[in-house]
């Protein structure tokens, strides 16, 4: 049965040799290189692992179905992220939290805020892979309202430019900038307890 596909982890290679469309193959292969990125964004956007998995899976399906809408040579990472974000927003973000950011920051003056927290946490020289820090930052990011969390996921984790993030979020570039600025302050606030406690040890 020469056209029978036996799947499993090695099945990918088997089926690839049977494909008749090299352009589609390259497209699918390139999508696979962004799975970690997509999962990271989904993981921090979604409420649980099932939602994250659903977002990534649906993103891949939609991307494969929309190959003709992708402009060759443009930023596939940004394109896939936009698909993912749209799916997440349509499916899971209907009850989006609306929290006034100034309430969350307790009215702390902007410049004072960073001054207060500047000494917290490890310096760059200690930024080796730290499982506990990773878990804490992951948990802290989830505490931030989605409108401020999304720019952090896209710019800081996803390496998108402000313009690309603005396209994903359907908002002006200036909004990305202001939300990112506020989002980082919120994140630092969430982390301050942890980093404050452990910072002296590092």
């Amino acid at each position: 049965m020469d056209s029978t596909y036996t799947l499993g982890y090695t099945g990918w290679a088997v089926s690839a040799t049977n494909s008749r469309n090299p352009a589609s193959d390259r497209f699918a292969t390139e999508i696979m290189t962004y799975l970690d990125h997509l999962y990271r964004v989904a993981f921090h956007l979604a409420r649980n692992a099932d939602e994250a998995k659903d977002c990534v899976q649906e993103t891949c399906i939609r991307a494969l179905s929309s190959q003709n809408q992708f402009t060759a040579g443009s930023n596939m990472r940004a394109w896939l992220t936009r698909i993912l974000y749209n799916f997440f927003y349509d499916s899971y973000a209907r009850n989006k939290r609306t929290v006034a950011v100034e309430d969350l920051l307790d009215g702390t003056d902007s410049a004072d805020f960073w001054e207060i927290h500047a000494g917290d946490g490890p310096g760059p020289e200690t930024l080796v892979l730290d499982h506990e820090l990773g878990a804490k930052i992951g948990a802290a990011i989830k505490q931030i309202p989605e409108e401020f969390r999304a720019p952090i996921l896209l710019v800081d984790m996803g390496d998108l430019t402000y313009a690309e993030a603005a396209e994903v979020l359907s908002c002006p570039i200036g909004t990305v900038r202001s939300r990112l600025s506020r989002g980082r302050r919120l994140l630092q606030k969430q982390l301050s307890g942890y980093l404050g406690k452990t910072g002296t040890d590092r």
Binding site: Y5, W114, S181
Partner: protein, 269 residues
Amino acid sequence: MRCDQAQELITAHLDNELSAEERTIVEAHLETCGRCRHALAAETKLKQQIKVAQREVVVPVALRREIESEIAARRAAVAAKADGGFAAWFSFHSWRPAFAMALLLMSLGIFFFTQSARKDLATVTIDSHRDLLSGKTALVRYDDANRLRQELSRAVGGRFAPVAFDLSMMKLYPVSGFVQKIGDREVLVTVYQGSGPAITCFTFLGTESDAPKSAERFYDAEMKLNFYSFSQDGISGVMHKEGDVICILVSKMAPADLLALLRGKSAHA
């Protein structure tokens, strides 16, 4: 410039997102303002921490495999169509039901509407089995028989499930499945392969009046069941009703052997 006005510019400066003019302004402010230099250092540190933390999160291996399988299944379906437009067989392995149904309607509906309406059930099932044997149909395999059965059932909205056979004594195992549209009916197809002659099992909601006209009827007095047998070009099919579903087994096995197999199954049921 006031410090609170500088805040967003500092963020954008860190991300290298400022125009030359803005950069000049914010750098001038930073030179004269220790608080904002401190703020820039703290924000830079946070960004680095986020970068490090994100390495902790990677896509689970199982999910990566599922997506690879989905891509492979999609390619298989495309390849099957390219093989002369024959049945776009479809595996439901790991596909979400809603998408599976959408793709099913798109990929199967048109073909079977035009192909099957003219043919009777005996011919359609035997043709399907023959194309599986010849490799004309791309097939996606499963390792987990229970999952295959569950997903097939889900694909028809849980209205019915494929009749399951334990053929391990004959070294035959359910390796794949898909939904086939015959006329306006959805039929669950389970493919049993192994060391013996392959068997294809077709399950659908129906009655004994669905039996092909060419079929011979055998009444099993002990089981109080009717069996219907038909053959074409060395391939045989045997049909019976089980609950509210019709089950048809098709194979190169002799009709008597298929009957014996079905009787054994009914005896267990």
